[in-house]
């Protein structure tokens, strides 16, 4: 349960971020189109700078890392932030400043452990919490990721789950 205080809310996984498999997945993603300010995607953002946008893709992934999900799902979260920032200059400033602070210390060039440590350091800041909240709703609420989690979503148009496995458990 949550206690008010300075204890970190970051939960380490059973596989540490330096596991080989995780490193491989990360290596593959370096090919992604969402990681460099020179990518088309980063330049297409309406309000946030290209540098801020692509840094946020890395930050959002590190907050809720799912190795089987491509960067496009995290980019979608950042697009949501970008759209909100278009109507809210305080938010735009918060995001630009937050990323600026991280990058002033060369966040993107650090290794995985050091990047995680840098996020733990700022986890109680409004910047971190604003981004974190957006990932929780924007990532897990994105219908395109549901299949990955094994969730089939709205069912009424298909007659519910009555004839589609509501009682199909076979291992009890």
């Amino acid at each position: 349960m949550t206690e008010t205080g300075s204890e970190s809310r970051m939960r380490r996984g059973t596989n540490s971020p330096t596991d080989a498999a995780v490193r491989d997945a990360a290596a593959q993603r370096t090919q992604s189109m969402y990681q460099s300010p020179d990518d088309e995607w980063a330049k297409s953002l309406g309000t946030l700078s290209a540098q801020t946008g692509c840094t946020l893709v890395g930050v959002t992934r590190m907050m809720y890392p799912h190795d089987g999900l491509g960067d496009e799902y995290y980019a979608k979260v950042v697009e949501g932030l970008d759209a909100q920032a278009g109507d809210d200059s305080d938010l735009a400033q918060l995001l630009e400043d937050g990323v600026g602070d991280l990058q002033s210390d060369g966040w993107s060039d650090k290794d995985e452990d050091a990047r995680l440590d840098a996020l733990v350091e700022i986890e109680s800041t409004p910047f971190f919490q604003t981004v974190r909240n957006e990932v929780v709703t924007g990532l897990y609420g994105n219908p395109d990721v549901w299949e990955y989690f094994g969730y089939e979503g709205p069912s009424i148009a298909k007659g519910g789950y009555k004839d589609r496995g509501f009682n199909d458990i076979d291992w009890l």
Binding site: R9, G13, L116, Y161, G165
Partner: protein, 523 residues
């Protein structure tokens, strides 16, 4: 057939709120020929407009007006402006509820006598007993179409429930059922049988689950004696020099204010808004708030002792296929102080979709450990804990000193600290809930803290003596004879069971009393 009444028509009975309490009372009175105006703060969305997507639905249905919180509960930290999870729409929170319908037990009406005095707990016996409510439980179960009662079959067990039932059996529990639910297993009362669609919390698109929106309100409207006025937010209840209620002041959708005259008023705004409205209706005759000579308005707030246990298994469960709540284990719903606490609790199956799971499973947590749990979604089973919590005078609703809502009404602050009994019960339930899943080889179990409160009780409590509470055994305020409370705030203590069956039973009972009093010229 829907009636329309004039603002100056002082022969109408006004009800504030159209949820479990207000919507049921409205239909019952209309059936008896009483002219009723329901003022409902929220808009009216019929079932065709409901959305089977968690956050979209939440944003459509929920009460999201600004609130503040204080106290040591986790909510102050995790959801500081959202102490409760209730609705602001025609139909109230019955548009959102899961349908679990359980009677209170005999001893739960007399816990002050049963438990003795408990430090910090403001316990009081109800002025009524189970016997007084029994005939109304029968009527309410018939009205709601509760499964497993009155010859209505149970719903077929779903995956989530089969996991809980198998584990419960392993650890020796015996009272395991598919749940007494206000969800049709087969067509009944003009509504279809369930298709196990999985979206009970997201409205009534499939229409198998009872709500005042699909049953009480249209039936009441068909009598020609009921007008439900949506987007009518009541700001104040008004009285005359002799102390009788004369009407209510409300704001319409455009923020324009009107007074609806009334012969009597009942408040059923759920347990935060009902006391807030009384406190905001203070006058020279009622300096501490309307009907608050006892000083108990807004006090003794209860939210049930709750928590959720998730089990992650090696194989798929697909818990989302099936009704949001279904199965129930009742063995721990008894008073057995040897367990280290007074009162009892139930286990009830629960599922959330990935969006709500991400927000609620461990609020505020992040990192790979959290993400790994989410990766287990498909293999997860879930159960909710719901048990009696202790009324404490210091828990409750006050008017904020400076912050105002969109209508200029002070926002409510909700203060809550767990009682040690609540903590002991929750820990016992976490442990025994985990044991159910562990007995089936769960890879991991997770304990989720209470959500923003879905059950809100006690803030205008019923008492035999006027100095101990706000309303008498009919839900009529001790101080003002033509003013009533018809929602869960009238509960003297909370019992272990989900409250809505009891709220509707008390509303049916209250309607009989109000109609008699009207006939006798007392109201």
């Amino acid at each position: 057939m829907t009636a329309r009444y004039d603002l100056n028509d002082d022969s109408v009975f006004v009800i504030v709120g159209s949820g479990a309490g207000g919507g049921t009372l409205a239909n019952e009175l209309a059936q008896k020929g009483v002219d009723v105006v329901v003022l409902e703060a929220g808009p009216r969305y019929e079932k065709e407009e409901h959305i089977d997507v968690e956050w979209e639905s939440f944003n459509q249905l929920s009460w999201l007006d600004m609130r503040s919180t204080s106290g040591s509960w986790g909510i102050t930290n995790d959801f500081p402006t959202l102490p409760t999870w209730t609705c602001k729409v025609v139909g109230g929170t019955t548009v959102h509820w899961a349908g679990c319908s359980i009677r209170f037990k005999d001893y739960e009406f007399n816990v002050a006598s049963e438990y003795g005095s408990l430090d910090g707990a403001n316990l009081l016996d109800w002025p009524i007993s189970l016997d007084d409510v029994l005939p109304y439980y029968d009527k309410a179960e018939d009205k709601l179409g509760v499964t497993g009662r009155h010859g209505i079959p149970y719903n077929e067990p779903d995956n989530n429930q089969m996991v809980m039932a198998a584990g419960a059996k392993n650890v020796g529990y015996e009272q395991v059922t598919a749940g007494t639910m206000a969800i049709n297993p087969v067509p009944r009362d003009g509504r279809p049988g369930t298709m196990h669609d999985g979206f009970c919390f997201q409205g009534i698109a499939s229409n198998a689950r009872w709500s005042t929106l699909n049953t009480e309100i249209p039936k009441g409207e068909a009598t020609g004696h009921l007008e439900v006025r949506p987007e009518a937010h009541v700001l104040q209840v008004q009285h005359n020099g002799s102390g009788k209620i004369t009407g209510v002041l409300y704001a319409d959708a455009d923020g324009n204010q009107h007074v609806q005259k009334a012969r009597g008023v009942s408040i059923a705004g759920n347990s935060i808004e009902s006391p807030r409205l009384l406190l905001n209706s203070a006058s020279s005759q009622h300096p501490d708030g309307l009907a608050n000579s006892s000083g108990q308005v807004g006090k003794n707030y209860m939210r049930h002792t709750t928590g959720t246990v998730w089990g992650i298994f090696d194989n798929p469960v697909n818990m989302y296929r099936g009704n949001t709540m279904a199965g129930c284990v009742s063995d721990e719903a008894r008073n057995d102080p040897d367990r280290g606490f007074f009162g009892g609790y139930y286990f009830q199956t629960l599922h959330l979709g990935p969006s709500f799971m991400g927000a609620f499973v461990d609020p505020g947590a992040w990192g790979r450990g959290f993400a790994d749990d989410m990766e287990g979604y498909e293999n997860m089973a879930g159960m909710w804990i719901v048990g009696e919590d202790m009324p404490q005078e210091s828990n409750g609703v006050t008017l904020h000193e400076t912050e105002k809502d969109q209508h200029g009404m002070p926002i409510p602050n909700v203060h809550f600290d767990d009682h040690p009994n609540d903590v002991a019960m929750r820990n016992h339930a976490y442990e025994h809930g985990s044991a159910i899943y562990d007995s089936l080889g769960a890879r991991k179990t997770i304990h989720t803290p209470p959500y923003p409160a879905t059950h809100n009780l006690g803030t205008c409590r019923m008492s035999a003596r006027p100095e101990d509470g706000v309303v008498n055994k009919w839900g009529q305020t001790h101080d003002v004879s033509n003013l009533f409370i018809s929602d869960g705030s009238q509960m003297t203590t909370g019992a272990a069971a989900n409250p809505t069956l009891t709220i509707t039973s008390l509303a049916i009972r209250q309607a009989d009393y109000i109609a008699e009093q009207m006939k006798a010229g007392q109201i």
